[in-house]
């Protein structure tokens, strides 16, 4: 090779280095931002160490294909910039981070949390730790993987929420649903290992065979075609059943953790969608009306309606209770329409899947309830805190404490959220006599966020100062 020959390998290496250096530089720029918790800084440290190690990997790589893969992976890591750039305190309410970390810690101890807004109107919780682990396992030589243990010793969760709702703490109760997804996965995994599932499986197989026989009664399809159709339908039915259970268990977890507030947030999230939308590929979401109906059932079964009734005669909160009750009655009326069920009944595939799902649902709910025991919504405590919290909101005081003013008691932040929801529902109803403007509702969001920050600080302060004493 003469001195001036073009060398693709060298060009690829140079390109990978430029990408890596560019990413390192952007990460350094982000490291000066203020973050509401330590996790983003730890991720920055991880990425920095990863890219420094990757430099050596790039240098030693002699395969063009491998270098192309490396470059493409570095490009893919650009998404971390978006997450980190949005995770700083001007974009992410710190109260939200601390609230979710507090709940996640009870479900998955010692978790790390990074939260950031996103352009899409969507709430998600993703397992970032596993993604980071995969990067190390795939790209970093085994001898050096141990250096990354300090970053990956605890689970890391990436929480995303719609940017447009950033300051709306009340809407963020929808995260109860997102926290339910890993629990739903655990249930489905446990179910698949249970003998009972074999019975469910057999029954579904039999129902699918009968369905195919019936549909192809007069057809001349051969056995192989029949088998193909049966297998395809069976897979689809299993998927529909699984997806319905995933979403419905997650909805239930929302109620178990956040109580009625989870339903209020769900209602606002779904009211503009088609309530009777049939489960459709590829997500197979259950119809919103069915979800609403089942959540309302849980609100009733968990005694929340009864708790509201007990507050009816408390003058401090009676008017708020009245509006909340009429809101729930309105939702009951909406859920009493059975068009979603009729849609499912009329479709034999959906019917088989949903009949099977419904048979498993009570057990799935019990499983979810058990898993959320440590963070369950304690209505006996929370409802008793509501009257005073409502009064605080009337006076524009953060709803963070109640009781004897000489020794006030920090409330459960779920009480803060529920009181704020009731205050909002009351304020958007002209018949209540007090109509809140959108500016005042925004103020309510800020007070709620402040109160949650105070509750978490007060508990932490008490824990540490009493511990030292």
């Amino acid at each position: 090779m003469s001195k001036s020959d073009y060398e693709p390998l060298s060009h690829l290496k140079c390109y990978a280095h430029i990408l890596k250096d560019g990413l390192l530089q952007r990460i350094d720029e982000l490291s000066v931002s203020d973050y509401p918790a330590m996790t983003p800084n730890q991720i920055i440290g991880f990425l920095r160490d990863f890219l420094i190690n990757l430099s050596e990997v790039i240098e030693k790589t002699v395969s063009e294909e491998r270098l192309k893969t490396l470059s493409s992976s570095i490009q893919g890591l650009g998404i971390f910039l978006e997450w980190l750039d949005n995770a700083h305190t001007e974009q992410t309410p710190r109260g939200l981070v601390h609230l979710l970390k507090d709940i996640i810690d009870h479900l998955i101890p010692d978790s790390q949390v990074i939260a950031c807004p996103q352009a899409q109107y969507n709430y998600t919780i993703r397992d970032l730790g596993n993604h980071m682990k995969a990067l190390i396992e795939y790209y970093i030589p085994y001898s050096k993987q141990g250096n990354f243990k300090k970053y990956l010793s605890s689970p890391i969760k990436l929480i995303s929420f719609p940017r447009i709702e950033r300051d709306n703490m009340l809407a963020h109760t929808i995260f109860g649903h997102e926290l339910g997804h890993p629990i739903a996965s655990d249930y489905l995994e446990a179910e698949s290992k249970d003998n009972k599932f074999q019975e469910i499986y057999k029954k579904l197989q039999q129902q699918v065979s009968e369905l195919v026989d019936k549909e192809l009664e007069e057809s001349t399809e051969d056995d192989s075609t029949r088998l193909k159709i049966t297998t395809r339908l069976f897979k689809e039915i299993l998927q529909i059943r699984e997806r319905a259970l995933e979403e419905l268990i997650s909805d239930a977890v929302g109620i178990f953790i956040f109580g009625p507030s989870a339903f209020f947030a769900f209602y606002e999230l779904f009211w503009s969608s088609n309530l009777d939308a049939k489960p459709a590929p590829a997500e197979f979401y259950p119809p919103p009306r069915m979800r609403m109906r089942l959540m309302l059932d849980l609100v009733e079964k968990d005694g929340f309606n009864n708790q509201f009734s007990q507050l009816e005669n408390n003058p401090a909160i009676a008017s708020y209770v009245k509006t909340t009750q009429t809101f729930l009655e309105n939702a009951e009326r909406l859920s009493a329409v059975k068009e979603d069920q009729a849609e499912i009944e009329s479709n034999p595939i959906l019917k088989i899947a949903y009949d099977s799902m419904e048979a498993s649902l009570p057990e799935a709910y019990n499983f979810a309830k058990e898993k959320t025991k440590k963070v369950s919504f304690d209505s006996s405590v929370i409802f008793s805190q509501l009257p005073e919290l409502a009064r605080r909101l009337e006076l524009s005081i953060p709803p963070n404490e109640v009781g004897d003013p000489s020794n006030p008691k920090t409330v459960d932040y779920r009480a803060t959220l529920l009181a704020s929801w009731m205050f909002k529902l009351h304020g958007v109803s002209p018949s209540s006599g007090i109509t809140l403007s959108s500016v005042e509702i925004n103020q309510l969001h800020k007070l709620t966020l402040r109160a949650i920050e105070y509750v978490i600080l007060q508990d932490d302060y008490k824990y540490h100062t009493e511990d030292k004493a």
């Binding site: 203020d34 509401p36 001007e90 006076l395 524009s396 005081i397 404490e401 003013p405 402040r450 302060y461």
Partner: protein, 200 residues
Amino acid sequence: MSVIGKTKLIELLCREEMDERLIITPLLNRDQQVNEASVDIRLGNDFIVTRRGNLALLDPASHDVREHRYQTKHFVNFRECFYLHPHELVLAGTLEYFRLPVDVAATVTSRSKWGRAGLVIATATAVHPGFCGTITLELLNLGEVPLALYPGTSVAQIVFYHCEGGTPYKGDMAHKTEAHFSSLSQDNKKADRAYWLPSL
């Protein structure tokens, strides 16, 4: 008008009716925070710093350019610090949220320890009866060395007075939950601005 002393302060904090009560929340350590005739207040997490290069001047007669262009907000976590350099002015919110009853007014002032280190806490110190919200402190380092400020530390104190004939404050500073910069060119209370200021 008289300064309210410790026993009366405690009575105010414990008034039966919430709307007549002096609210300071969270009062994390009441025994240590309520002094002989004042209450120690803590530094919050939010700081507003001016980016001089982006700001021509502040003139009530001209419309402000977008505040975000010349202000940087810093959030400082607990156990982390903010360095206030000599002759630098920053705004910072109090950790505590206040609600004063209509028969009480207050002034915010430095704590002696910090004052002697050069820290001036507030230049506009009056808190009106009926005020509700966190208080924005104007922190100025008049000393010769940088000061390390930690959120949660008590850098200021608030002195309360009985106020007769007060009406609830409804101005621009009310209902804030974090440090707040109030635009000079938007003063809702001064309807006669056009008379005093040159037209653009």
